[in-house]
């Protein structure tokens, strides 16, 4: 039995086998597909084709083929898609690790390649395994603000995802038929031809300490543990407290009207109370009819409207709906010569001195939506400095970074 001798003797777990690998593979097939789709959606949600300030991967070329104008409804859209992306990614970590464990003896198989196609497949596996670990690692590090990876997160995670996905699709096409056959045709490898099972199964296994089903429960339990300690950070209040090991989990940052999660504090981005004071701060609005300067008091004297909208961050956490009050963006556009129904795109600039999104562009559908506000108050009180006082943007369905805080300038018109 040539294959038995090629199987490294140190891999002796009786758990390994086609059934175990196939079960994990099918879970990853579904899970990673969802991760990829929600990841692509997240890129589209930034409206990168609207303006260079929204695009962190301008060299995307054909990889942006699918981009579309991000809608404003349902208003919790990005909260859902990005919450799923990050929480599911965290949940799948043990499944990925178990899958890699189940196939690791094949890394050392001899001969290294049986044919040209097989050699190429093994090179493709490097992209698959390296890509999966690269994507999971950069994602998990980014949500913890641990920016140790070489470069900006956006291009690394986006282009890395495409490299990984190219290998993932090839692997899925080659393996899914056999995986489904394994799961359908046999229970825990009973009756599988020796030569096929032998590729994964140890030839001289140790006696079992746990059944394959038990091992799957262990993997599932680990996934459940990660899910249970992460998912709560998509909600305020008691649910957030369940996210005990996750950034932006635990207790809410305060109990008052401004006591909800903050993405970037004023101090971090260099915004001081002095430049936001009544004397210093003016909103500068530019459009067809020229430039208008408004103090906060003048904004408060305009027609004010309310919206209940969440903040949803690319890092996967979000707040429940907050009650915002302010001037509709389309009403701001009217001040510089546009009808509410024909209001154009807008470039919003913040007071903040640094940060990747101190300038952000909003599309016409976002400007015209009656729920989109230049918010002055939240939950019945003036905005706190950390939530964007004197004025911030809040748009339904959009990623948090497009909800610019400490707004200084709004320039309406074709971008």
């Amino acid at each position: 039995m040539a294959r038995s001798t090629s199987f490294p003797v140190r891999w002796r777990s009786p758990l390994r086998g086609p059934w175990f690998t196939s079960a994990l593979g099918v879970v990853l097939l579904a899970g990673i597909t969802v991760l990829f789709v929600t990841g692509l959606l997240s890129y589209a949600a930034y409206n990168p084709d609207l303006s260079p300030v929204n695009d962190k991967t301008p060299d995307k070329g054909l990889l942006g083929f699918y981009l579309f104008s991000w809608p404003t409804g349902p208003y919790w859209l990005y909260r859902l898609t990005q919450g799923v992306h990050v929480t599911l990614g965290i949940t799948l970590v043990p499944v990925l690790l178990a899958k890699l464990w189940s196939v690791v003896p094949r890394l050392f198989q001899l001969p290294p390649a049986r044919s040209v196609a097989h050699a190429l497949e093994r090179i493709s596996l490097l992209l698959l395994v390296g890509g999966a670990l690269f994507e999971f690692t950069t994602g998990v590090l980014n949500v913890q603000l641990d920016y140790v990876f070489p470069g900006s997160f956006y291009p690394l995670h986006f282009y890395g995802a495409w490299v990984f996905f190219a290998a993932f699709v090839a692997h899925a096409v080659l393996k899914v038929p056999a995986a489904l056959r394994n799961l359908r045709g046999l229970r825990e490898d009973e009756g599988l031809p020796r030569e096929r099972a032998g590729q994964l199964r140890a030839p001289h296994p140790d006696p079992p300490t746990v059944s394959r089903r038990g091992a799957l429960w262990l993997v599932g339990g680990g996934a459940l543990l990660l899910f249970g300690t992460s998912a709560g950070r998509s909600f305020d209040g008691p649910l957030r407290r369940t996210a005990v090991l996750t950034p932006h989990g635990g207790a809410d940052p305060g109990s008052g009207p401004g006591g909800f999660q903050i993405n970037k504090t004023a101090a971090y981005v260099g915004v001081t109370a002095r430049e936001t004071s009544g004397e210093a701060w003016r909103l500068v609005v530019t459009g067809r009819t020229g430039i208008v300067r408004l103090s906060r008091a003048e904004l408060l004297a305009l027609d004010l409207h309310s919206s209940a909208l969440p903040i949803a961050c690319v890092e996967g956490w979000s707040t429940s709906d907050q009650w915002w009050r302010g001037v509709r963006l389309r009403d701001v556009a009217q001040l510089v010569g546009y009808d509410a129904d024909t209001a154009p795109d807008v470039l919003v600039e913040s007071l903040q001195s640094h940060g990747a999104f101190r300038r952000a562009a909003l599309r016409t559908n976002q400007v015209r939506d009656a729920r989109s506000l230049l918010a002055l108050e939240v939950n019945g009180e003036p905005l706190t400095l950390d939530h964007g006082y004197p004025a911030r943007v809040i748009v339904p369905g959009a990623p948090g970074v497009l909800n610019t805080k400490w707004v200084a300038r709004m320039t309406f018109g074709e971008l």
Partner: protein, 168 residues
């Protein structure tokens, strides 16, 4: 389900001539060429800025996992099973394995927060305390091992009771 007689028969067909370099399934070759082309297109962009570091991370992730992380936890697991085997209670290894796996998993995923290396940035960026992650992780670990120990004691006691006295 897709039937692919081409791959199997192509391999079988050539299996007789062991000296010649075998090509393999043309369908598989086409698929992989397609995959490499797309990976290359994205990879050029991925490597555009700091190609060496990014390539190091990409390949390094696979190598560190396959050659360091996995052998380490496999060795730890073997040691645990052997230790319980020496005590004549090999199946009891599960009572250490499960809480250790869960605790290790949490540590692996949340290491930057648990180790405190991002605590200062977390506080200044998000205005939240970065302390307490290590304490909470230790608490969860204690609960996991404690629960497992309790379960083991209960199982051992019920096993002793179930055994007839004559068997002693």
């Amino acid at each position: 389900m897709v039937n692919r007689p081409g791959i199997g028969s192509a391999l079988r067909h050539r299996s007789g001539s062991s000296k010649r370099i075998r090509i393999g399934s043309p369908l598989q070759l086409l698929l992989l060429a397609c995959s490499f082309a797309l990976a290359g297109y994205a990879g050029m962009r991925l490597l555009a800025d700091d190609w060496f570091q990014v390539a190091l991370w990409f390949v390094g992730a696979a190598l560190v996992h396959d050659l360091v992380l996995l052998p380490l936890y496999v060795a730890a697991d073997h040691a645990a099973v052997r230790a319980f085997g020496a005590l004549g209670h090999r199946a009891g290894a599960m009572y250490v394995r499960v809480p250790a796996a869960f605790s290790g998993l949490l540590l692996l995923v949340w290491f930057p927060l648990i180790s405190g290396q991002v605590a200062d940035r977390y506080r200044s960026v998000a205005g939240l305390s970065g302390d307490g992650f290590a304490a909470r992780w230790l608490l969860i670990t204690a609960v996991l091992f404690g629960g497992s120990a309790l379960l083991l004691v209960l199982r051992l006691r019920s096993a002793t009771k179930a055994r007839p006295p004559a068997a002693h």
